[in-house]
């Protein structure tokens, strides 16, 4: 339970608010690489602001606020030129730094152009996504987390959800929900719809723990029949502050991404890499495929017969912004309290002019995040449950993905794995 003022502060995303200023210190995926290959300019909303994102003919990316500084027409309808984005209305051109480099109907011997630069962000491509940083400069480095750079077969499921991102992030430090929402509830739905839910998700929690680390909070659990020597405790998996969670197991590597589009809309993305530890043979992909995951059925009820659909139901039905003034947390929610503290700490750091946790300014090749391999001590079974019972079953690549896991297991069994 929080006061109304603390709940308000925690859930803000707008510029000028303490949390909005924290959020503006991070990079966010704002488009699929595929989208700008199909058409080179796109309107994007991020942190409650609209931008025009474009890809130049030479493959560089730029991002500027949507409204042209001249007469406020949308730059998202702009003309992509070799050296910038041209406003469709009167032809002013802004380069990737936001400088106005052409005003066709104005005399060029004035300093008018220098007065009207667009406050540009920075945009880069990584792992099939276009990422943007729209905070104060100089921008930190785009973190090259393992999933975005590792070898493997990729796909990206996504949905836009009508709720604040903080309630989604609180789920990432709530281990107990797995045994109920993805265990008992899944089994209940399965009995009514005629399928068997995965047993590994219903295992009882014996112990949970949370460890702050340089990228966020590592979540740990001991499940019935296991010990602190099992991966679920010894390694765990991390909430990657402020808007990601790294999960995986059984040759599946995933970043769950929750982009605060605005205060009550969150872009939920499941960035998945299939790469069995042994027996994997690489499959080339010209472009990373993306697909929508279902949220509501034709009657407006949540689709709850898959893992992430159950999560979405639990997040969205809390309301657009969870009312934390009348919640009733228990001891088992202590991870949630720890996360709120981390959010609040970062507000102070940013107010002091410091970088918040999880930003990086050093050049780097790859950031490996801790993540258990033997998930729920279920072994390779986890990968098949992941395909059949999670969002991957809606992927256009499902058959290929299953084949990757089955073939790798067969190669291991026959002794032909490298």
């Amino acid at each position: 339970m929080l006061t109304a003022e603390q709940n308000d502060e925690l859930t803000q995303v707008d510029a000028g608010t303490p949390m909005g200023e924290v959020l503006r210190r991070y990079w966010y995926p704002v488009a699929f690489t595929r989208e700008l290959a199909e058409f080179p300019v796109k309107r994007v909303e991020l942190l409650g602001e609209f931008f025009a994102l474009w890809r130049s003919p030479s493959g560089r990316y730029g991002i500027v606020p949507e409204a042209c500084p001249h007469r406020k027409a949308s730059m998202a309808y702009g003309v992509v030129e070799p050296d910038g984005l041209r406003c469709p209305y009167h032809g002013w051109v802004f380069d990737e730094s936001g400088a106005c480099i052409e005003q066709p109907a104005e005399r060029d011997d004035t300093r008018f152009g220098a007065r009207v630069s667009a406050k540009a962000g920075v945009a880069e491509e990584l792992g099939g996504l276009v990422w943007a940083y729209v905070g104060p400069g100089p921008a930190p480095r785009l973190p090259r987390f393992d999933v975005y750079v590792m070898e493997g077969f990729r796909d990206i499921g996504w949905a836009d959800l009508p709720c604040n991102y903080v309630q989604i992030m609180e789920n990432a430090v709530d281990p107990h929900h797995v045994e109920w929402l993805h265990g008992r509830y899944f089994s209940f739905i399965g009995r009514h719809e005629g399928f068997t839910s995965p047993a590994s998700f219903a295992k009882k929690h014996v112990k949970v723990g949370f460890t702050p680390f340089e990228w966020g909070i590592i979540k740990r659990r001991v499940l019935e029949g296991a010990s602190e020597e099992n991966d679920d405790w010894k390694v765990g998996h991390p909430l990657v502050f402020p808007y990601n969670m790294r999960v995986g197991g059984g040759g599946v590597h995933q970043m769950q991404i929750r982009v605060p589009v605005n205060r009550t809309t969150t872009r939920f993305m499941l960035y998945t890499v299939h790469r069995p530890d042994e027996g994997y043979e690489h499959v080339e992909q010209p472009m990373v495929p993306d697909y929508r995951i279902p949220v509501l059925d034709e009657n407006g009820r949540h689709v709850v017969n898959y893992v992430e659909g159950q999560d979405i139901m639990a997040w969205v039905t809390q309301g657009a912004i969870t009312d934390r003034t009348t919640e009733h947390l228990g001891r088992s929610d202590i991870g949630v309290a720890m996360l709120r503290k981390m959010f609040r700490e970062q507000m102070d750091r940013v107010a002091r002019g410091e970088d918040p946790i999880g930003t990086i300014r050093e050049e780097h090749e790859r950031i490996d995040l801790p993540c258990e391999k033997d998930k729920f001590h279920a072994g390779a079974r986890f990968a098949l449950d992941f395909c059949d019972m999670g969002s991957t079953r809606f992927s256009p690549m499902l058959d290929t993905i299953k084949k990757i896991h089955v073939s790798a297991a067969e190669r291991v069994a026959s002794g032909s794995a490298s």
């Binding site: 339970m1 929080l2 006061t3 603390q6 909303e45 409650g48 949905a159 836009d160 959800l161 009508p162 709720c163 605005n262 009550t264 809309t265 949220v295 509501l296 407006g300 949540h302 969205v316 039905t317 809390q318 309301g319 657009a320 009312d323 003034t325 009348t326 009733h328 947390l329 228990g330 001891r331 929610d333 202590i334 949630v336 309290a337 720890m338 709120r340 503290k341 609040r344 700490e345 102070d348």
Partner: protein
């Protein structure tokens, strides 16, 4: 702002727990036990019948739990 995606749930104040919310406002710790500054954040949770406040003080960095106990001090008797 663009239209919200479908499925948005608007909830009014939950009047069933107005008394709990009022108790939170009344009892939330106003001073850090270490330095006396107002805690930057206090999340209230329950453990059995005990109400606890998980607090963080931005002035001195203190993190801990504060539990209102009422007038009665309760001991315990482990098996012996």
């Amino acid at each position: 702002m663009r239209p919200a995606p479908p499925g948005r749930v608007e909830r009014g104040p939950d009047r069933r727990f107005a008394a709990d919310a009022a108790a939170h406002r009344r009892d939330v710790p106003r001073h850090c036990p270490q330095c006396g500054a107002p805690p930057a954040l206090a999340t209230e949770f329950w453990e059995g019948s005990a109400r606890r406040f998980y607090c963080w003080c931005s002035a001195c960095g203190w993190t801990g739990e504060i539990t209102p106990t009422g007038a009665t001090a309760v001991g315990h008797e482990p098996e012996h």
